[in-house]
């Protein structure tokens, strides 16, 4: 069966190619994946800044960090090495995403921390919070998206519909909610213009797709 299916052109990004792209994003724009309050280096190169969380009744704040490992994308059909926890399944036109999320807090109370205090220097001042970390494993399933970009072009992307974070019991739903928004925000940064999906050989105008199948994200269109 001809790939172009009646259209002038066809472009497809294999999951291996997408994962290489995500690897490059991870190398060059680490701050998409690493977030922290100032105590944990938030605001420095590679780490996006978070605001600390107020502790109710304490009058103090929690310093924390969130680090997402390089996500791995699997387009349908499901890779043999991939296992998805219930209720997640990979169906037609879907992708799965797995990642580890390391969540750390600075545990231990003190008077209001002074601006400019670093984690190591605080030992001399008598505040020695512990850095407590935990790693959550995250699985998600989603679908390809397309939205207008300018008068004639489109942006193709991925969006998670369902996410599972394991091993944190009743906090799962809360964390899943937060994680779903967080991962979708990450994926939004990775959208690509349809016009450029032919790797620059010619301009492409979307006529059908995007569709995920055969381990690929596929689009069809006209040559412009």
């Amino acid at each position: 069966m001809a790939l172009t299916a009646g259209h002038a052109a066809y472009a497809a990004l294999h999951e291996d190619g997408l994962n290489k792209f995500i690897r490059n994003v991870y190398l060059v724009r680490l701050h998409y994946f690493h977030y922290a309050t100032s105590l944990f280096g938030g605001g420095s190169p590679g780490i996006s800044l978070l605001n600390p969380i107020d502790i109710p009744g304490v009058g103090s704040v929690i310093q924390y960090s969130v680090a997402i490992s390089q996500p791995v994308i699997d387009f349908v059909p499901q890779d043999a090495s991939s296992t998805l926890p219930a209720p997640l399944t990979l169906g037609p036109d879907q992708f799965s995403l797995t990642a580890d999320v390391q969540f750390c807090i600075a545990c231990g109370l003190r008077d209001q921390p002074k601006p400019g205090d670093s984690f190591n220097q605080d030992r001399a001042r008598g505040w020695s919070p512990k850095r407590l970390c935990t790693v959550l494993h995250l699985w998600a399933v989603g679908h390809p998206t397309v939205e207008p970009f300018g008068a004639t072009d489109k942006l193709v992307g991925l969006q998670i519909d369902q996410i599972v974070v394991k091993n944190i019991c009743d906090l799962e739903q809360i964390v899943e909610c937060i994680a779903e928004d967080m991962v979708n925000a990450l994926l939004a940064n990775l959208q690509q213009k349809v016009s450029e999906l032919a790797l620059g050989a010619f301009g492409l105008m979307l006529a059908a797709g995007p569709e995920i199948s055969d381990d690929q994200l596929k689009v069809w269109g006209d040559i412009v």
Binding site: M1, A8, A9, A12, N24, V28, A201
Partner: protein, 275 residues
């Protein structure tokens, strides 16, 4: 195989038309035949045609009914004095009686022919050809190319049917020049025929030379060079996936480390491997 781009025959036609639009050439030449010096300027452009994609292992891009069209601007330069005998007028004696002198017969005036004249003539031409092209992938430094290389094909350019256009133009011009000379009315047709007679003995050689010249100029086009591959698709090796967004957001690239190309199911399919 990290990415796949496929182009149908109709898509390949579109790409080919863009390629053809860039294929044009102009060249000039000149030579002399007897009293005629002929300069010729050739312009050629390509258009049209339909593509047939022939599957691997042949991997042939076949172009049917490609139109090769253009114009030869021909300049005929010749000196009437080299072809025509000198004519002295009037062809009869004119005498007048002058008092104190006698019957004086005024001298004939022998007309010097004008300096060499140049007559421009346009010879348009149009021919349809079919040609096969082989497919290959080339590492072009900063890009990968999917190139076409033509197989030898036959091209016939024959301008001999334009002989009458040339003869008519030269006849009209010479007739106009001769008509401006007084008292040769009875001679003009005979003199014009002298010029046309001198021309006809070399005209087929002239047109054969110009036809060969046009043929050779057409084959100078890259598309028809058996040694110069012409890119149909070009992929920059470094693809900017995310443009730079500020000091903390440098550009995110992927690099195409290898490219393959073949024809399957009458589609041109390029597959890319990323680094």
């Amino acid at each position: 195989m990290d990415a796949t781009i496929a182009v149908s025959e109709s898509g390949a036609n579109q790409l080919m038309q863009k390629l053809l639009a860039g294929e044009s050439i102009s060249k000039s030449g000149s030579s002399s035949w007897g009293p005629f010096t002929v300069g010729y300027d050739v312009n050629v452009a390509l258009s049209g045609g339909t593509i047939e994609l022939i599957d691997a292992p042949l991997n042939i891009v076949r172009l049917h009914n490609l139109n090769i069209a253009g114009n030869v601007g021909v300049f005929f330069t010749f000196d009437l004095g080299q072809i025509l005998p000198q004519i002295c007028i009037p062809p009869f004696q004119v005498c007048v009686d002058i008092p104190f002198i006698g019957k004086v017969c005024t001298p004939q005036v022998c007309i010097p022919w004008p300096p060499p004249i140049t007559i421009p003539i346009n010879l348009p031409f149009s021919v349809n050809v079919s040609a096969d092209f082989g497919l290959s992938v080339k590492d072009a430094g900063s890009a990968w190319e999917v190139d076409l290389l033509v197989f030898p094909f036959s091209l016939l350019i024959d301008l001999s049917p334009m002989a009458s256009v040339i003869i008519n133009q030269i006849e009209t011009t010479v007739d106009g020049i001769l008509n401006s000379i007084p008292l040769i009315g009875g001679l003009i047709a005979w003199l014009v025929n002298m010029v046309l007679g001198a021309l006809s003995s070399v005209l087929s050689a002239i047109l054969s030379t110009i036809s060969s010249f046009v043929h050779d100029v057409i084959l100078l086009l890259d598309l028809f060079s058996p040694t110069i591959p012409v890119p149909l698709l070009t992929f920059a090796k470094t693809q900017a996936m995310l443009p730079a967004g500020g000091p903390s957001d440098p550009e995110v690239d992927i690099t195409i480390a290898a490219l393959g190309a073949a024809i399957n199911d009458h589609e041109l399919v390029a597959t890319a491997d990323f680094a």
